[in-house]
Amino acid sequence: MSTLTASQDRAVARTSFDGWRWGGRLFLVFLVGFTVMPMAWMLITSLKTGFAAMQYPPQWWPTEPTLDNYWRLLDPRGQVGQDFLRYFGNSVWVSVATTVLAVVVAVPAAYAFSRFRFPGRTFLFFAVLLRNMFPAVIFLVPLFILMRWLGLVNTHGSLILTYLTFGLPLAIWLLKGFYDNIPIQLEQAARIDGATRFQAFFYIVMPLSTPGIIATSIYSFIGAWNEYIYAYTFLTRHDQMTLPVGIQRFFSENATDWPGLMAATFLMSVPVVVLFLVLQRYFVRALAEGAVKH
């Protein structure tokens, strides 16, 4: 009797368990389809000629796949290629500069928020976090005036300075989560052995927080790479434009060249997606520590 109940229980448990499991799998299939479809269509369209793209019903797979759109964008001899490569270079420069500055500024701040108990610490920390709450548009007009006054309109300096601020709050938050998890005894031991506070920080804490720094860098880089509104407002000169604005210009000048546009969006996505996929475990880990522990 009791064995019967037990096996029944097990059977019930197994079937209900499987129901949820299959539901979960179906849901994942749907979600992956939803996620992949636009990216797949971007890639497929980018391999078509302009003529092949403008057909109804569409060619689900191009009958004559071609890499011409990519060659055109990457050919430094043509006008399109020159523009695209310049935008690409501008984006790389702005994103790298923003990332380096963000790490330099965020590391000491996050360390101080984690370790020291100075008056106003909590207030300052939340003030920094509240930056997430401000819409970019609020800052457009005053920052535009500020940049005009500083003579930075139409320079990459205006973008780097602006991007720095919206990368900072999350960078500080992520890093603080990391420092909170590094035992303070390690630094105390170093201090007893004669290290200064800075040495303890630099030689003990910094290396241990490398994953956090990597995560912060990815976040800043992606944010800067993808930013559109400020670049759209602060830059009017073509040779200064970054990719998101440059691509918009491409679109407005060649409104029906969908394959070319898709190739350009694909090339724009490659660096950030690759960077993120290679380093995502750091990012997910950092977010886990930051998001949950606070």
């Binding site: 849901f27 636009p38 057909q55 008056p119 500020l146 559109y228 691509i247 969006t265 996505s269």
Partner: protein, 313 residues
């Protein structure tokens, strides 16, 4: 006598003294604070100031005229104001709801170990990394009224006879844009909640199972309460992001057709850089700022609850 002296010696230092004692600590946060002050505090102050003035289209600040609350009454008197507000609320609410639900589902489905889990997680994170500009153009192309993939697919599957004109139609435009937005940001909810799921104690789930709780009961009574904190933060951040979205509506429809996808931010941008009505745009921004600060209050409260807990522990 002696006691009094001791009291004086061991008196708790006041704020200024403690601040002076920890002056070296401020050096660490100084760069961050200075950048924030220049690029945040100054613009906020400036926006508030501009909202009380009429500034000429050329943005010559010396010619601005004080007009009190006129910019605010102008906004509230606009026929489009309430329509834009309703659009913004629909956009924000449904984007947040669907992004959160899909993110939660994905986090739960990916929580269990299985072959290919890391790969699937990576795939699902891609939309969040891709720029909103790229996302807008790809979806605009998929929604294309003549050659769009979605329209053609629906005809081939027999859902409709004719391809639907998704984004040039006042009834379907806003929902179509919400789909793009959900595509873009459900992964954010997913990573936050995946992180949250790691805090759910495994023993508790097993104990609940032994006690005969079914999968739904285990989720509702054990998992979900542990996710409450992360969920609050995630939802607040999603609300803020969505309220402040600009790129997707701006690049796909530009607020059209007939204002069907015009939301606060696109409206503010239009007023400022399209029509050079700086004062009205600034007043709009101040209203937006007040809403964001209200959400910000809850955000800080949700975060500081966790922070207190950690410090006690």
């Amino acid at each position: 006598m002696r006691g009094r002296q001791l009291d004086e010696v061991y008196r708790k230092p006041n704020v200024a003294e403690r601040a002076w004692q920890s002056r070296a600590d401020y050096l660490y946060v100084m760069p961050a604070i200075v950048v924030m002050l220049v690029v945040i505090a100054y613009p906020v102050y400036y926006t508030i100031e501009l909202s009380f003035f009429k500034t000429p289209p050329s943005l010559q600040l010396k010619d601005k005229i004080f007009i009190g609350f006129d910019n605010y009454t102008t906004i509230l008197g606009q026929a489009s104001f309430w329509k834009v507000t309703v659009n913004t609320l629909i956009w924000t609410f449904f984007s947040t709801l669907f992004a959160f639900v899909l993110g939660l589902g994905a986090a739960l489905a990916l929580h269990r170990e299985f072959v290919g889990r890391a790969f699937l997680r990576a795939i699902l994170l891609i939309p969040w990394v891709v720029s909103a500009v790229a996302a807008s153009y790809v979806w605009k192309w998929m929604y294309h009224s003549d050659f769009g993939a979605i329209g053609a697919l629906m005809v081939q599957l027999g859902v409709t006879d004719q391809p639907i004109n998704f984004i040039d139609n006042t009834t379907t435009a806003l929902p179509s844009l919400i789909v793009i937005n959900v595509w873009k940001e459900f992964s954010f909810a997913m990573i936050m909640l995946m992180a949250g799921l790691q805090t759910v104690p495994e023993q508790l789930l097993r104990a609940a199972k032994v006690d005969g709780a079914n999968a739904w009961q285990r989720f509702w009574h054990v998992t979900f309460p542990h996710l409450a904190g992360v969920s609050t933060v995630t939802i607040l951040l999603l609300l803020v992001t969505n309220f402040n979205s600009f790129i997707i509506p701006w690049l796909t429809t530009g607020g059209g057709p007939a204002g069907a996808t015009d939301i606060w931010i696109t409206q503010i941008y239009q007023l400022a850089f399209g029509r050079q009505r700086w004062g009205v745009a600034a007043a709009y921004s101040v209203l937006l700022f007040l809403i964001m600060m209200t959400l910000g209050y809850f955000y800080v409260r949700a975060l500081s609850r966790g922070d207190d807990k950690r410090e006690v522990a």
